[in-house]
């Protein structure tokens, strides 16, 4: 193997060591378990093709941006989106049901998850990037390609719509 190729391989290995779990967690919150492996492969394939652009190592947030786009790709089409959302809910429910000692606290959390599945995908994306992935408005803006101010406004509206949906579900149950 030539030196540049070996160096590229080492940098990809480093990216795996540093970010693989983050990428898989990011994808797992958005995709059913059986889709995560292929999606993660797509993310690191893109990473490998672009790795020369990042001589100091692949930034975590850049990889999450790729993962965001790969997950978005999986949600293309209404029927496919509904199927993925239903499967994700089913898998989450299956895990949660095993945890009997958390039953008391689960109701409110379940309502929030249900509401997250029912709001628009664009609202859910923003809320997930902020609340689950811990990204700042500026970092979210870089990933979805918009300004920090736009993220702040859209995220505020998205959270409000989520609160409304949580209340509606809570009142109806």
């Amino acid at each position: 193997m030539s030196e540049p190729a070996a160096n590229t391989r080492l940098r990809l290995e480093a990216a795996f060591d540093d970010h693989y779990t983050d990428v898989v967690a990011f994808l797992r919150r958005r995709l059913p378990a059986e889709s995560v492996q292929d999606a993660a492969a797509d993310v690191f394939l893109v990473a490998w093709k672009r790795i020369d652009e990042f001589p100091d190592g692949l930034p975590r947030n850049w990889l999450l941006g790729v993962a965001y786009r790969v997950a978005s790709q999986a949600y293309r089409g209404t029927r496919r989106r509904r199927r993925l959302e239903e499967e994700l809910s089913r898998q989450r429910q299956a895990v949660s049901a095993d945890i009997e000692d958390e039953a008391a606290a689960r109701d409110e959390v379940d309502v929030v998850f249900a509401a997250m599945q029912e709001i628009s995908r664009s609202d859910r994306d923003l809320i997930q990037l902020a609340a689950l992935d811990g990204l700042s408005h500026a970092e979210i803006g870089e990933i979805i390609g918009t300004s920090t101010e736009n993220v702040a406004v859209r995220l505020s509206r998205a959270r409000q719509r989520l609160r409304t949906r949580v209340e509606e579900i809570g009142e109806s149950s």
Partner: protein, 239 residues
């Protein structure tokens, strides 16, 4: 009202069950991905346009002349792919004017291109990629999907930018109206308002024009940031 921090805490708790027992970087899953990526030649996946010629001929025979797209075979060919995959079916086109991803919409509507994930007779999100100067249009919602085929994204607005948001709304609305031979005014207006709100384009408005024709179509006046719902005659059946 619940504060942002409280809401976020509940959201994290809601998704936590999904991320238990994740594989680590040394797991068999990660090793398999490494193997897939690092095997020789995978960095330069061959883009195999094996169906281009056949597809062009079939289209020609099937009446592609009615599209007015194959009059000059010397023009650069645009390729419409059925999937984001090197072995996808391909419809080749020789367009008049600058090729754009919208060129491929008729191929989806007519069933020349199909994909199990796309409802027959509908158009998926389309993204333009570039392969040696030739436009390659794939069913994807984001330009980075081009990299999966070892292609470069065609120059397009950055996803999520106001320009991209507007283009997305226009595309969604066009697809919405294409579902009907005679789109209903109220339905198109409501859909336009919904899409604009969802895209955060709060400075855009929707205006309805009166007229004798019964069906709704959409025009866009970018100067005044207005989507104008205009009356048109019904589309001929199958047209």
């Amino acid at each position: 009202m619940m504060r942002d921090e409280e809401l976020d805490e509940l959201i994290r708790a809601a998704y936590e069950p999904l991320t238990r027992d994740l594989p680590g970087p040394d797991s068999p899953e990660a090793t398999e991905i490494r193997r897939r990526i690092l095997q020789p030649a995978s960095r330069h996946v061959a883009f195999r346009p094996r169906l281009v010629l056949a597809a062009v001929l079939v289209l020609f025979a099937a009446g592609a002349a009615t599209w007015g797209l194959l009059r000059d075979v010397e023009r650069p060919i645009a390729r419409c792919l059925s999937a984001v995959h090197p072995d996808a079916d391909i419809v080749g086109l020789a367009p008049d004017g600058a090729p754009t991803p919208e060129l491929c919409e008729p191929a989806w509507l007519d069933g020349a291109l199909t994909n199990p994930e796309v409802e027959p007779g509908t158009v998926p999100d389309l993204v333009g990629c570039v392969d040696d100067g030739v436009l390659v249009v794939i069913p994807a919602s984001d330009p980075s999907a081009c990299y999966l085929l070892d292609l470069e994204p065609a120059a397009e607005p950055e996803p999520g930018s106001p320009v991209a948001d507007l283009a997305s709304v226009r595309g969604e609305l066009r697809r919405f109206t294409l579902q009907y031979d005679c789109p209903d005014f109220d339905a198109v207006t409501t859909e336009a308002e919904r899409l604009l709100a969802e895209a955060g384009l709060s400075d855009w408005t929707v205006e309805v024009r009166d007229g004798p024709e019964p069906c709704a179509s959409v025009a866009v006046d970018e100067a005044s940031s207005t989507f104008i719902i205009v009356p048109i005659p019904p589309r001929p059946p199958g047209g």
